[in-house]
């Protein structure tokens, strides 16, 4: 992240959950429907407090489950509201049906997912199995490195969702970000308010029996419409292709919103989808997501001191997956290591690895790509293990028969 000129901001002490709640408070949100679950609870608590204290004018809907939380958010957004919800792990799993429905009806709900391991066994700690499981549901996914980025991503998510007409998941690592108090630069209310603006609803022409009128595309008793009706083998396929095209079309929207946000905040996440670090002349790079990557950069600095040519790449946008950029940025290296904080049972490696290697397969020069699965259920990845992975990768270049997928930090 580079810091440029910006408006004057307040340096606050917030944890990641509070940073998200603060962003929601400033973003002209109309409806929040959420059900508390560790480690997302603080988001719900803070928003409830803001509503109770009259600090924000939004409707907080108390629901009995996450299925209802997303259903209510979806319904509110269909009726024209700017809607937000938040969850984690099993809560996200319970939303499954409505995840697809929200995306397929092109409804711009924003949801914070505080990444937590899925049951069983019960584990409240961080890994990415929840949001990675939802990777094919049609939501844009932004992965945050710290509380500051969780705040920034939440604000940007409303703009991205509404312009792309797709729901956006903003993820932050459970406890490592959600419960860690840190410095967060908070923008003035009016600056965020004017950045996100008021939700604009696209207008559509009604059929001629209604008099060729143009009306906002939303639930409205005056001009009844149905979202997501029966659609069989006649048109379902075309609609799914269109939905996928919408995902591709969100790429320039995501980039533009980031650039506009950099102008007001001074915080630039260029080049948006993935951020390289000291990769210029690197032989080996390690790619991964979220909070782990700041520690990886520290290890890169240490290994560079020892004269080892290593670098790091942090992937911020996992959906839409930046395959072209992966090919452009990574095909020149001899070895790429991919960090995965979730398992895809029965697959050859974690989801990030599978997609990165698949993207690189169609490039003319193919690096050797290795996978490290780490940190399941909140297992810490200390710098010494990251160093071990780098050293292995430096030796692994071209070595035949080396296992492609390894676990990092597990008892053997």
């Amino acid at each position: 992240m580079t810091v440029q000129k910006s408006v004057s901001q307040t340096m606050m002490a917030l944890n990641g959950d509070e940073a998200v709640a603060w962003a929601v408070k400033q973003s002209n949100v109309d409806v929040v429907a959420a059900y508390p679950i560790t480690p997302q609870t603080i988001i719900v608590e803070r928003i409830s407090e803001f509503v109770h204290n009259g600090e924000v004018d939004l409707e907080f809907i108390k629901v009995e489950s996450e299925h209802s939380a997303l259903s209510a958010s979806w319904g509110a957004a269909l009726a024209g509201a700017r809607a937000f919800t938040a969850t984690a792990a099993n809560g996200l799993a319970l939303m499954w049906e409505i995840l697809y429905i929200t995306a397929s009806t092109r409804t711009p709900v924003v949801m914070a997912v505080v990444n937590r391991a899925l049951s069983a066994p019960i584990n409240i700690h961080n890994d990415h199995s929840d949001s990675m499981g939802a990777r094919d549901s049609g939501w844009i996914q932004l992965y945050s490195e710290d509380a500051q980025e969780a705040y920034d991503n939440t604000i940007m998510a409303f703009r991205i969702a509404e312009e792309a007409m797709l729901p956006v998941m903003v993820t932050l690592d459970g406890f490592t970000i959600s419960h860690t108090l840190q410095n967060v630069s908070v923008l003035p209310d009016e600056v965020v308010s004017s950045f996100v603006g008021v939700r604009k609803i696209p207008r559509v022409k009604l059929p001629s029996i209604h008099g060729d009128k143009e009306v906002p595309l939303m639930l409205n008793p005056k001009y009844p419409v149905t979202f997501g009706p029966l659609d069989l083998f006649d048109y379902y396929f075309e609609h799914k292709v269109q939905q996928n095209e919408a995902m591709k079309a969100s790429v320039p929207i995501i980039e533009r919103v980031h650039r506009e946000f950099a102008e007001i905040s001074g915080r630039s996440y260029e080049p948006v989808h993935m951020i390289p670090y000291r990769t210029e002349d690197a032989d080996v790079v390690l790619l991964g997501l979220s909070s782990t990557m700041s520690v990886v950069r520290k290890v890169v600095d240490e290994l560079r001191e020892e004269g080892k040519k290593v670098g790091a790449v942090r992937l911020r946008v996992f959906r839409p997956f930046p395959a072209d950029m992966i090919r452009r940025e990574l095909s020149g290296f001899s070895t790429v290591g991919v960090l995965d904080r979730s398992l895809s049972f029965g697959a050859e490696g974690g989801p990030v690895f599978v997609e990165v290697r698949s993207a690189l397969y169609s490039s003319s020069s193919k690096p050797a790509v290795y996978n490290y699965v780490y940190g399941l259920g909140g297992r810490d990845l200390p710098p010494k293990l990251i160093k071990k992975a780098f050293n292995e990768l430096l030796e692994a270049r071209g070595e035949p028969g080396r296992p492609v997928v390894k676990y990092l930090g597990v008892r053997e």
Binding site: M11, T180, Q182, N183, S294, V295
Partner: protein, 200 residues
Amino acid sequence: MGWSPLIEIRWHGRGGQGVWSGSAVLAYSAIKAGKYAQSFPQFGPERIGGPVTAFNRIDDKPIVDRGPIYEPDIVIVIDPSLLKQRYVPQLLSGLKKGGYFLANSEKSPSELREELKLPEEVHVWTVDATTIALEEIGRASPNTTMLGVLLAATNLLPVEYLEQGILWRWPGTVGERNINALKRAMREARSDPAKEVVSV
């Protein structure tokens, strides 16, 4: 004092004593003093009475480290019942040479060092934080009191930032009482310096 730029602190106590709140107040105060800071609990559900840990990182530049602290510069023990031989390996784990061991104890630092066989290379400070907390605050929450020992031992931040931090966490009378406890601990804290002072 010769701090390395990054200072790492590990708190030990029991659920309900305010280990996390104490570390949050310290991080807030450091941020208000213009520094970068982190505060986080040993991730997990806290249980009243069970041993709990919290952490602080404080630096002059943005902090890239994440996760638990393995080699602290300072260890703060806010519960005297943890000052037993069987807990010592956990309390001392990774504590740097020249580091600080700050304990809530009626005993003098040298008595405590002898009883727990604390290494010569760490500075030991004690204060009877439970008594101070009971007298000044009216309940046995010795977290802010131990922040007084931290200031006495290290001069880490000007006291007015800690006052701001305490009032942020506990506005009004409760905050004022906690500030009194902190200031009294600054006066009453006793030290037994490390044999060979190695700067940390």
